[in-house]
């Protein structure tokens, strides 16, 4: 039977996909700006965040509208409530890209502290997790969502490695490096937070597809 609701859900799906694309672009650009010491690109990330915020509100409104008008049940309800949560997670990720861009603006005028090796590695993990997690939502693919969850420890490990190096090899040895080292430390922390948000999305996707709550239940994985 044809359901008008399906068209609404398709539209919602497309909007969340768009949100996902914007967010991925923001992460990509913020890291490119850091690597290339490109102020314009960093500023671009900060400016474009307004349109991501606007899209977040639009998606929220759409979800509330669908709930009010259709009173969805079962799989439809799980899709919409998950969509709302994912929307918020993506917006937070985009905000983190802005944070990275701001740290980058602080760093570009100062001499390079060290060649970036592990931060780009962590960036690859973060970008991969975000991409996979969005794909898992769009395709309702729980296997992909599970893979994202399994990647999170890798991100934590890289973050710890970066932290240790910056503290022990730079800040402790030469206090004058601290202002720059702290910026890089924050960036590593931000990237790891992106991975955490990707993990949250993956958990929500598993709930959406299987109605199974894995959040705060690691034993269920």
């Amino acid at each position: 039977m044809h359901r008008h609701l399906d068209e609404e859900l398709k539209e919602l799906n497309a909007s969340i996909l768009k949100m996902g694309n914007f967010t991925q672009e923001a992460i990509f650009k913020s890291i490119e700006a850091l690597k290339d010491r490109n102020k314009d690109l960093a500023k671009d990330v900060i400016e474009k965040d307004t349109s991501i915020d606007a899209l977040e509100l639009e998606i929220d409104e759409k979800c509330i509208d669908i709930i009010a008008r259709y009173q969805p049940m079962a799989g439809d309800l799980r899709f919409i409530t998950t969509g709302m949560k994912i929307n918020a997670e993506l917006e937070r990720i985009a905000d983190i890209a802005v944070d990275i861009a701001q740290r980058t603006l602080e760093l570009v005028d100062k001499p390079l502290l060290k060649p970036l090796i592990d931060i780009p590695k962590l960036t690859v993990v973060a970008q991969e997790m975000v991409k996979m997690t969005i794909d898992s939502f769009i395709k309702a693919d729980i296997e992909l969502a599970r893979k994202v969850l399994l990647m999170d420890p890798e991100a934590d490990q890289l973050r710890n490695l970066i932290q240790k190096e910056l503290i022990e090899d730079y800040m402790v040895k030469d206090g004058k490096t601290a202002p720059r080292a702290v910026q890089l430390l924050l960036i590593a922390r931000f990237l790891e937070r992106i991975c955490d948000h990707a993990t949250n999305i993956a958990e929500d996707v598993i709930y959406m597809v299987k109605a199974e709550v894995v959040k705060h239940h690691p034993e269920k994985l």
Partner: protein, 255 residues
């Protein structure tokens, strides 16, 4: 699933036929005391047939035939030697269209008591007032008890029918689409009432309104083509049904 509650009604291997047509197929279902159980399903799925069996309403239908057993507590209510009016004292019923007697508001309620042989006028009066209060109708009718019940609004008539059912102190109240002909305000009042009544009664409600089932019930049963497809906690049925047919029905994908 619902194994911790006391079971008031147990349907065991219930098959029901209207002539050659099988309306219910091997229904096994248990209904919890002091809970609201909603029965949902498309027209013709057997949900009304099923609840009508619980107070022996189907046996007057020509060529109707029942197999299996339905227990109310320990008593087999399908046993032909049990007087249906005894069953109906324990199992009240409220229908889709309010059907008060064309008598006064007072008489609508006193009638059931008098039929049951009660003669004490003071006792009857007490019971009438009590039933009207329990049905959340007392404040609206206390000064017009001698008015004809048909003067009441649809929603009030329905609450009068509930009061009438309550007066004989049943254990179970069956509601067959009680709000189908009511406006949203009256519907809201009946739903509120159902939630209050479950403290003292076991309630089974047949409804076409999915949101109503979701709002008022603790357990939901989904019937399709005479079969019980899924039975579970209402929250589970409406957020994560296990059977695809349940999902398709409650999300409106049917047909």
């Amino acid at each position: 699933m619902n194994n911790v509650c006391a079971k008031v009604i147990r349907a065991e291997n219930v098959n029901f036929f209207y002539g050659q047509t099988q309306a219910l197929k091997n229904i096994n279902m248990q209904i919890c005391a002091n809970q609201v159980t909603a029965i949902i399903g498309p027209s013709g799925c057997g949900k009304s047939t099923f609840i009508r069996l619980i107070n022996r309403m189907n046996e007057l239908i020509p060529h109707a035939r029942l197999e299996g057993k339905i227990y109310l507590d320990q008593q087999d209510i399908t046993d032909p030697s049990v007087d249906p009016s005894e069953i109906r004292k324990m199992v009240g019923m409220v229908f889709q269209k309010p059907n008060p007697f064309p008598k006064t508001i007072y008489e609508n309620i006193s009638y059931g008591l008098e039929v049951n042989g009660i003669r004490d006028k003071y006792f009857i009066e007490e019971k009438v007032i009590d039933a009207l209060k329990k049905a959340a109708l007392w404040e609206e009718v206390k000064n017009r008890l001698r008015d004809n019940a048909l003067k009441l609004s649809g929603g009030q008539q329905q609450r009068l029918c509930i009061a009438r059912a309550l007066a004989v102190e049943p254990k179970v109240i069956l509601f067959d689409e009680p709000c189908a002909s009511l406006d949203p305000i009256s519907t809201g009042k009946i739903e509120e009432l159902i939630l209050q009544l479950k403290e003292n009664y076991t309630i089974v409600i047949v409804t076409h309104n999915m949101q109503q089932a979701a709002r008022v019930s603790d357990f939901t049963a989904f019937f399709l083509l005479g079969e019980l497809i899924e039975f579970g906690k209402t929250q589970e049925i409406f957020t994560a049904p296990k059977d695809k047919r349940t999902e398709d029905y409650i999300t409106g994908r049917f047909g």
